[in-house]
């Protein structure tokens, strides 16, 4: 258990986001960004209570199979096709503390690289036993784990021959609305990572490497599933000791 969870909730403002570490809005090699990126400067706003607060979700919302994509869409007694894997890790903040109670939602293509979505036109087959979505909530240490199958790579309409590397999408809630983050997890050793226009929206190689999950044979379950470790870092909070406190109102 992290020391912080024993104390009242932290209410400090979040550290300024390093926008040179994230992808810029306008990244012309990812064509869709051209008409969907703001052109004017963002207005900087030190966090108010509207940004410091955020929704928090209890473990009670979770169903028994929410963290098992191999089975949560499968017919009874059947399972999704593909390489069985476990994805596990921790959600941390920039100060290195585990973030307990963080809701993680994830979605992905099936083993052939096909999404179950009405706007998806790739010729790869749908797997009748794979839906492609799941969710979990971190424990007191910020740890999480789920089962799935390794998704396939797939082509997408950007350049005439652009392919996405195998990846899992993650949506993360911390404790404040300003921590809200969506990112993607890639797999160690995949040569497609470095060719992808979406990966290459990230300017810094070290930042990309934060999104590459490591194969972990020690966490692998023999004769069942290999394991990949994927830690996620959310914005940290300033210490509230020296801040003007809003309860004074």
């Amino acid at each position: 258990m992290s020391a912080e969870t024993k104390h009242p909730p932290e209410i400090g403002a979040f550290f300024q986001r390093d926008r040179s570490w994230h992808p810029r809005g306008l990244t012309p090699d990812y064509k869709t960004s051209v008409l969907r990126s703001p052109e004017k400067a963002l207005l900087s706003l030190d966090n108010t209570i509207s940004e410091i607060t955020g929704p928090v979700f209890g473990h009670g919302i979770l169903g028994a199979l929410d963290n098992d994509l191999i089975h949560n869409f499968a017919k009874p007694g059947e399972s999704a096709i593909g390489e069985r894997i476990i994805v596990y890790g921790r959600v941390l903040d920039e100060r290195g503390n585990g973030v307990p109670g963080a809701l993680l939602e994830f979605w992905q293509a099936n083993a052939g690289g096909r999404y179950r979505h009405k706007k998806e036109g790739y010729i790869a087959a749908l797997d009748p036993n794979f839906g492609g979505c799941g969710r979990t909530i971190t424990d007191e240490d910020g740890a999480y784990a789920f089962r799935t199958i390794r998704p396939g790579a797939y082509p997408w309409p950007n350049g005439v021959n652009d392919w996405r590397p195998a990846h899992i999408h993650f949506s993360v809630f911390g404790h404040g609305f300003a921590q809200r983050l969506i990112t993607q997890m890639y797999f160690e050793g995949d040569p497609m990572i470095w060719q992808c226009p979406i990966v290459r929206t990230i300017p810094d190689k070290a930042a990309v490497e934060m999104l590459v999950a490591a194969l972990d044979m020690q966490a692998t379950i023999p004769m069942d599933a290999r394991a990949y470790k994927f830690d996620i870092v959310l914005r940290g909070r300033r210490s509230s000791v020296f801040e003007n406190r809003l309860e004074g109102n």
Binding site: I49, S50, T53, V56, K118, A178
Partner: protein, 204 residues
């Protein structure tokens, strides 16, 4: 050399992509039986305090075309100006109001509709109130890092005039990009990603 600060870097963002609905609104996307109800689908119940309102939002690209694959989340105070959050330490919010909503924009019209309540005012800093507002977070294919903005209410003229956040907008012609007009039971909020009518987005 000096001591290390032992800080980590935030995980870099990646676009939500065209299939964000699978993960965040699976029932909307046609995947049923995995979770009972899409999270954030309902913010109110029949016991929620406050004035019922709709919020009708669209997200438009640089040609003025509505995005039909966007996902919008909103976060707001209850009718008394309290957030339903563990980090709200000023009091206890209305337990019948979540304060948080999530909708996919319609695949045909590009519109989404939240059923909510008019929020109360919350403090900017001790002794200074902000006008009633709703925080927005927008993701979609082509958006590399989620966009933050706020919606204010056109019928709160006096409060808007003294709002310290609106006051910080240097180019006053841009203030109306954050102000939603009422049409019937709903406030209508068009979010322009770029162009002459580009909405003011925040680095929060």
């Amino acid at each position: 050399m000096v001591q290390s600060l032992n800080r980590l870097k935030e995980s870099p963002s990646q676009t939500a992509g065209p299939y964000v609905h699978i993960g965040l609104t699976p029932n909307f996307s046609g995947i049923s039986g995995v979770i009972a109800r899409d999270l954030g689908d309902e913010m109110v119940n029949d016991k929620t305090l406050g004035e019922r309102i709709g919020i009708r939002a669209r997200v438009l690209d640089g040609t003025g075309t509505p995005l039909k694959d966007a996902l919008v989340e909103i976060w707001q105070a209850d009718s008394a100006g309290l957030y339903n959050s563990p980090t709200e330490i000023r009091g206890t919010a209305d337990p019948n109001f979540t304060g948080w909503g999530r909708k996919a924009t319609d695949m045909t019209t590009g519109e989404c509709l939240f059923q909510s309540i008019k929020p109360g005012r919350v403090p900017y800093k001790p002794g200074v109130l902000m006008a009633p507002h709703v925080s927005f977070w927008i993701v979609a294919r082509g958006i590399n890092l989620g966009l933050n903005t706020r919606m204010y209410f056109a019928d709160e003229e006096a409060a808007n005039a003294e709002d310290p956040v609106l006051a910080r907008i240097e180019h006053r012609v841009r203030v109306p990009t954050l102000i939603a007009e009422r049409q019937g039971d709903a406030y209508v909020f068009d979010i322009h990603l770029q162009g002459e009518k580009e909405t003011v987005f925040f680095d929060i």
